[in-house]
């Protein structure tokens, strides 16, 4: 049954995009380049995938409206699983795409990266934060062809440890993390290492799993240690349960979070338990910078909601990739040219643009060098605290 469904699914995608122009025919025509998108549009992380897909579409359509080079795309729904992501990658390669935008979660991107490297395929993930996404772990060398538009987990964990020490003046900290996601483990490792270096004692460290709804046991343990700060590197749906339950456990400590907290307020009925919490984010929708205001206005006009960080990073990822493709085409490389991929990769590495998540240049590991926004929950609203 599953096979039949998958077959229908793929055919649906082909039919849908066949009407937008067949992918294969475009490759000889430099006025149009087809790129492939990998994103989970169904499954348990679909909410991330949908936001990313919206951000990508917004940029691609705005770009095409300017005239000149036209970008078309094919998308594969990889359902948030590494195996489906690899299937999707192979399928996109069969469609002769010129470059890959994806995937969304670290697990899926980690699975695809080695294959993309073998094909020397230009690839950028909007949201994968795991350290190893852009690195060949066998040699500890960067893949070269794999880029990202998001922060990396170690950066976030270290930043929040520094924030706890320098701004809050914490001497003790407690951590509650998801032991089943690479994201949460990576942040826990970085936070506790940096915090210890800075002289903060980790008084409690508790974990939970993907399907956990009951956190009260862990939170009661943490409450007895009475820490100065409470670091929770988790996704927003977990925060919606951890917040209210930490009030029941009697925790009144300052909570710290990372970019997984983005959008948590829309999942929480009564925000008072997380009042005063700080979290690090790659994007701030209320920013007064014109480029951000334009993006937010256009996004709201089209999708009738305020863009979250995932949509913003996707918009930037599309911008980085498409500008690199445009440059390569202007330099006379068509996607059928053998050096097209090298040219796109070189152009991406030289990225130096203003984007909605800040000014972006890449380091030697193809990670963007951006400043972090610290957001605080004040009176149940996300308020920009400052750059840190």
């Amino acid at each position: 049954m599953k096979k039949i469904l998958k077959f229908l699914n793929v055919n649906f995608i082909i039919l849908f995009f066949a009407s937008c122009g067949s992918a294969e025919n475009n490759q000889n025509n430099t006025n149009e380049v087809t790129i492939g998108i990998l994103a989970p549009l169904t499954g348990s992380v679909a909410h991330f995938g949908v936001s990313v897909y919206e951000g990508l579409r917004l940029f691609i359509d705005e770009y095409n409206a300017r005239g000149g080079l036209q970008i078309s795309y094919v998308i594969f729904d990889e359902q948030g699983t590494p195996t489906e992501a690899v299937v999707g990658y192979n399928w996109l390669m069969d469609q002769n795409v010129a470059a890959i935008l994806g995937s969304v979660t670290s697990g899926a991107t980690l699975a695809v990266a080695p294959f993309a490297n073998e094909d020397n395929m230009p690839m950028i993930s909007a949201t994968s934060t795991h350290r190893n996404v852009t690195i060949n772990t066998a040699t500890e060398e960067p893949w070269g062809n794999v880029f990202r538009a998001s922060f990396i987990d170690p950066f976030q964990g270290e930043k929040m440890a520094e924030f706890a020490r320098e701004i809050i003046g914490a001497n003790t900290a407690a951590i509650l993390f998801n032991s089943e996601t690479d994201y949460s483990i990576g942040l826990r490792d970085a936070f506790s290492q940096r915090a210890t270096e800075l002289g903060i004692t980790i008084v409690a460290e508790e974990s939970f799993g993907n399907d956990t709804v009951d956190f009260l046991g862990q939170l009661t343990n943490i409450a007895t240690t009475n820490p100065d700060v409470f670091f929770i590197p988790a996704y927003h749906q977990d925060i919606a349960l951890i917040g209210p339950q930490s009030a029941l456990a009697g925790i009144n400590t300052v909570m710290l979070g990372a970019d997984g907290w983005d959008g948590a307020l829309s999942y929480i009925g009564d925000p008072s338990p997380i009042e005063g919490a700080f979290f690090l984010s790659g994007f701030y929708a209320q920013s007064t910078t014109p480029i951000v205001q334009d993006f937010v206005a256009n996004y709201q006009l089209r999708f009738e909601t305020v863009p979250n960080m995932f949509a913003a990073q996707a918009y930037d990822a599309a911008k980085i990739l498409i500008y690199a493709i445009e440059q390569a085409v202007n330099d006379g490389y068509s996607p059928s040219n053998n050096n097209f991929r090298n040219a796109v990769i070189a152009n991406m590495a030289n990225t130096d643009i203003d984007a909605v998540t800040g000014h972006i240049v890449f380091d030697n590991y193809n990670n963007p060098q951006k400043t972090a926004f610290i957001i605080q929950i004040v009176n149940g609203e996300e308020v920009f605290w400052g750059n840190f």
Binding site: F208, T220, N221, A240, P244, Q245, L248, G250, Y267, G269
Partner: protein, 292 residues
């Protein structure tokens, strides 16, 4: 002191498991059916509570509406899908139950969306934490434990002291003999489903108080844990379901208390394996030889 706080957390969690396990156990006791749609009835109940609360209905009206909807839903499911299969092989009914579960989950995804919705707990009960001789106790867990115990007393009264309860016990002992004695078996089965579902309705509100994020898949994991509780306690036995629920709830919290928070599910399923190995009928289960 930490131990006592955690014990109360475990009792609260166990209460929720026990309420759902009762629904599994009663239905199994009557018609030997593992009603896998039971957890999903709780999920629908939680959505009813969520929407009626958001529409600022009176809290008592919200509770009544939730219990009535869950009960009606279970009766409809029983009449439409299980009654026509009364004489079908047990496996067919089991597969139907799984089908109903998937149907309820997907319908909820279609109508209410796949991602979670916050449950406005503060509209029902303002969370308060009391400090009782150094033990942190919240009003939420006290209410859950009391409501569960009262529900169980009422249930025991129904089963032991009423005519319908007598009929239920008769049907569970021997369905055909009960029918020959003039018991309306179909009504008794429907009544059993209704009682189980009303407990799930109560459970859905208690669940939402402690876990205020409602999504279409909450019934799955919760149902599985309650199912384990019913097996551990002895499926088919009402006191067994209560004991099983509290055992699982307290065990989970104790594992966390001793610093093994990553191992909760592992320990719960290990207990299931141990029980199945040494006492396959569960703690309160009776050993009855199957007639061939």
């Amino acid at each position: 002191m930490l131990f006592f706080s955690q014990l109360i957390n475990g009792l609260q969690l166990g209460s929720i498991y026990a309420l759902i396990a009762l629904g599994y156990s009663m239905v199994y006791g009557i018609i030997r059916l593992l009603n896998f749609a039971h957890g999903d009835i709780l999920m629908v109940g939680a959505y009813v509570a969520l929407f009626s609360l958001t529409a600022s209905f009176d809290p008592w009206l919200v509770i009544t509406l939730t219990i009535i909807t869950s009960t009606l839903l279970a009766i409809i499911i029983e009449k439409v899908t299980y009654t026509p299969l009364r004489n079908a092989p047990r496996l067919s009914v089991l597969i139907t139950a799984i089908g109903v579960s998937i149907l309820l989950q997907n319908l909820s995804q279609f109508f209410f969306g796949a991602s979670g919705r916050p449950f406005p707990v503060h509209l029902l009960l303002e969370p308060t934490v009391f400090n009782f001789f150094g033990i942190n106790i919240n009003n939420n867990s006290i209410i859950t434990i009391i409501v569960t115990i009262v529900s169980m007393i009422v249930l025991t009264f129904i089963v032991k002291r009423t005519r319908l309860g007598k009929a239920m016990r008769a049907v569970s002992q021997d369905l055909d003999a009960a029918r020959l004695m003039g018991v309306n078996v179909n009504n008794v089965v429907t009544f059993t489903f209704a009682v189980g579902a009303s407990l799930a309705g109560i459970g859905s509100i208690l669940y939402a108080l402690r876990f205020p994020l409602i999504s279409p898949n909450i019934g799955g994991i919760l149902g599985l844990k309650a199912f384990v509780a019913a097996i551990v306690g002895g499926i088919g036995s009402i006191p067994g379901a209560m004991i099983g629920g509290y055992t699982i709830g307290i065990l989970e919290v104790l594992v966390i208390t001793f610093g093994l928070s990553g191992w909760t599910d592992g320990v719960v399923f290990l207990l299931l394996i141990i029980v199945l190995m040494f006492k396959p009928t569960g703690i309160m289960g009776k050993n009855i030889a199957e007639k061939v």
